[in-house]
Symmetry: C2
Subunit: 184 residues, 2 copies
Amino acid sequence: MREFVLYSRSGRTDGRFDSLHGAGRLDVVYQCALMALHRSHALRQDVVFRALLNGPPDPPKELIIEGAKLRDAPMDERGWEGLLRGVLSGRPHPGIELRRGSLQALTRERDDVFVLEKGGEDIRTVELGQDPMFVIGDQVGLPKKEEEFILRRGRKVSLGGKEYLAAQCVCIINYVLDLREAQC
Amino acid sequence: MREFVLYSRSGRTDGRFDSLHGAGRLDVVYQCALMALHRSHALRQDVVFRALLNGPPDPPKELIIEGAKLRDAPMDERGWEGLLRGVLSGRPHPGIELRRGSLQALTRERDDVFVLEKGGEDIRTVELGQDPMFVIGDQVGLPKKEEEFILRRGRKVSLGGKEYLAAQCVCIINYVLDLREAQC
């Protein structure tokens, strides 16, 4: 399994919004979900994507999307806007769950949690284990306190010298893991 | 320079549409532009992104977006929807050009054109030259005739055994080229 966790500082926690961008940058959640869960004409069965939403009116919430259970997943932002508005309003959707959640609760018991940082070990060579969890900051980045908590047990990994959008990080990690699997 | 060319079979060639998805999958153009041109808090100055639009009512059109000249570039699909609707209606925008164009005209004189294919040479090791151009099919793929034309002079490169969304291909290629530049 591969898990991606997007920490969204401002992502809205109910369904009352006009656009994903205006809903505390839920468009970033859409972009990351697309990169995490979709491949060409297929959904990744081995991916769980989580978004921790810390925006108004009822934070924190954890949105969980499982590739193996997801049905009727759109590809475009408008489609996801409708989907997320429904889920955040309490409407069920196959493969998507919404619950109370925090980054510390998610990562507390795990040894295989990785945070992206320029100065970390190269992701192409670091030991990742069987079921790695990658924690990714939104457009602002991870809060220092959260990062410090994770790094008590977790590790820093690097995608190289460049800094990427959250969705690009997710895409690159999937690619690197695909190559590793192919080599095995 | 890096050039990405998205061949869009059905992308609409005027500004009369309700959504990018409904406009012959112009949402794929948005996704690829985001992955090609944006980095974290920056635009890539060394990227030119082209989309060849072959949908109604006036194909073929070539949309050209230059990272070095682009201004006021949104990150979300809604923002790009407004931008593309304007440009396809004839409104100018800094860094974006719209003209008559075809894949064959674009690639005819070049030796450094690459087409993605599973069976191609691994992109991590193939010689790419200084200013490679990558041609990428949309959700349906490149038409056979166009691919054969390009491959008279161009070459096949592979991202590995998995098949990716067009936007994911763009993102992975940027990552691979970033790593190469860092090694130089």
